[in-house]
């Protein structure tokens, strides 16, 4: 019970805190709208227009990935710069339970993106907002956020080894948008990309949202997203333990 309370309180605090950041509002609202607009124009003008709801969901998911990438990738660095990393590690609860609410919050902030691209598309591009399977959609959304949030945990614990985490975040934004099929059908990409995409939660998350919103059975994708979330949690747990031990041994916690 106390674990759930800790996660809930941490998540609520970080969602409020990130909502006040201009940078995160840009990443999660304006940037997805820009990319969604480009994609709307491209699909409207193209020979294969497709459904614009497909595009709106993809562009929204781009925003969820960006806020997770930048938020979680820099999570431990920020704690360092603010001088709070030592406290986070010294408090009685495990470090994992301190960091997980933060990475979940960064993915949650991405929900602004989805809302923004759907509303933008509905207002200016006549994107239909009818959801084929509302129950599946309502389940798919939080499961996707949890999947990406725990992928964020893996990023948070690995990026700590890289001094310039922001540059790595910049680099990883476009490739993941591409290989997870957010705006591009995976069948158009080279064959070796598919196995790579299966390891990434955004692939299953966007498929779950599209299946539930447009038509189809979203439950297998929801299941895969949950399974991957569990795997990320285990990986993140071991990586964080390793990092914490190294940092204590080498006295490098407060190094900036």
């Amino acid at each position: 019970m106390s674990v759930l309370r800790l996660i809930w309180a941490g998540w609520k605090f970080h969602v409020k805190s990130l909502t006040l950041s201009g940078f995160f509002l840009l990443t999660s609202i304006i940037q997805p709208i820009i990319f969604a607009s480009v994609a709307y124009f491209m699909f409207e003008a193209g020979a294969r227009p497709g459904t614009l709801l497909y595009v709106a969901l993809g562009a929204g998911m781009m925003g969820i990935w960006s806020s997770t990438l930048f938020g979680s990738g820099g999570a431990i660095q920020w704690q360092r710069w603010q001088g709070t990393l030592e406290y986070c590690i010294a408090v009685p609860p495990p470090f994992l339970l301190v960091i997980v609410p933060l990475t979940l919050a960064t993915a949650t902030i991405g929900l602004y993106s989805l809302t923004a691209t759907l509303l933008w598309g509905w207002l200016f591009f006549d994107v239909p907002l009818e959801v084929a399977h509302p129950a599946a959609f309502v389940v798919a959304l939080p499961v996707t956020v949890v999947g990406l949030g725990l992928l964020g945990l893996v990023l948070a614990s690995t990026f700590i080894l890289y001094r310039n985490a922001n540059a790595l975040s910049n680099l990883l934004e476009y490739p993941v948008w591409l290989v997870t099929g957010l705006l591009v059908s995976l069948s158009l990409l080279p064959g070796w990309v598919a196995p790579l995409s299966w390891l990434l939660a955004p692939t299953w998350g966007i498929n779950a949202l599209r299946e539930s919103a447009i038509a189809g059975n979203a439950w297998p994708e929801i299941g895969m997203c949950l399974l991957l979330a569990g795997v990320y949690l285990v990986i993140g747990y071991f990586l964080l333990q390793h990092f914490e031990r190294l940092a204590r041994e080498r006295a490098t916690l407060s190094l900036t």
């Binding site: 201009g22 940078f23 840009l26 304006i30 940037q31 820009i34 990319f35 607009s37 480009v38 994609a39 124009f41 491209m42 699909f43 409207e44 003008a45 193209g46 020979a47 294969r48 227009p49 497709g50 890289y162 001094r163 310039n164 922001n166 540059a167 790595l168 910049n170 680099l171 934004e173 476009y174 490739p175 948008w177 591409l178 705006l183 591009v184 059908s185 158009l188 990409l189």
Partner: protein
């Protein structure tokens, strides 16, 4: 001679001093690899939508990505002084402002041109896009003109950074604006009329159009009017940026806000 020294040496030193943090570990992911992935993303969206050829996206995005070094570097070169606590010292010096600020533009233009040229080359190699050898030199010229043009916009952004705190946010918004309006990914003719009117008066639109024609084998003489227009737009933006800088400097002195960060 003093003005020339301020222009050339001052500009170079300022670039080196304010980009002391720009190590290879930041430069390569942000300015070498990221534009290649932007090209790939839009080329594949283009394939998915059945809109244009790969060449369209390679040329458009390679040139448009020059906006990142132009906008961020110009802002850092002038607005960054605020964070280094050196802005006051610069502005009380008797150095003439014209060479002082314009000198900082040259390294930015050269760096942006390199980023665009490298992205274009890499994009062509990866996606198998063929560009005739006769177009290489004219394309290089167009890229430099495009970088110059966007540096003018960067100068305006830099001037605004003397007043706005969250300038990185504004810079990202301008980058996204250029992504939509310059025709880098959507043919200008497919945009609504009011957007086409905006496209005509912003950096990159004419350079991208000229570069696409050159990549298709057109001679430079057939795109000289487009290049001339791009150059003119860049010049107008640079002058506007300079005027805005002087205005912000005056405002900063008046309201004692120069070093507000």
């Amino acid at each position: 001679v003093t003005s020339l020294r301020i222009f050339a040496i001052g500009g170079l030193i300022s670039y080196r001093a304010l980009f002391y943090w720009l190590s290879v570990w930041i430069y390569v992911p942000s300015l070498v690899l990221a534009p290649i992935f932007q090209i790939l993303l839009f080329a594949y969206i283009g394939r998915s939508a059945g809109l244009e050829s790969d060449k369209f996206y390679v040329v458009g995005n390679a040139i448009q990505y020059a906006a990142v070094p132009c906008l961020f570097a110009m802002t850092q070169l002038i607005g960054g002084e605020k964070y280094q606590n050196t802005l006051g010292a610069i502005l009380v010096s008797p150095a003439p402002r014209l060479p002082l600020f314009f000198g900082r533009t040259i390294p930015v233009v050269l760096n942006a041109a390199f980023v665009a040229a490298f992205s274009l080359t890499a994009g062509c190699l990866i996606l198998g896009v063929h560009i005739p050898a006769s177009a290489f030199i004219p394309l290089a010229l167009v890229i430099v003109v495009a970088a110059f043009s966007c540096s003018g916009l960067g100068m305006i952004n830099a001037a605004l950074s003397l007043r706005i705190r969250e300038n990185a946010v504004l810079t990202n918004v301008i980058f996204g604006f250029l992504l939509i309006f310059t025709g880098a990914n959507v043919p200008i003719s497919e945009l609504p009329g009011w957007m086409q009117s905006v496209s005509d008066v912003i950096p990159f639109t004419h350079a991208i159009e000229a570069a696409r024609e050159l990549a298709d084998g057109a001679p430079f003489s057939s795109v000289s009017d487009l290049v001339g227009t791009e150059l003119l737009i860049g010049f107008v933006y640079l002058c506007a940026g300079f005027a805005l800088l002087r205005f912000m400097e005056w405002q900063g002195r008046r309201h004692a806000t120069l070093e507000r960060s």
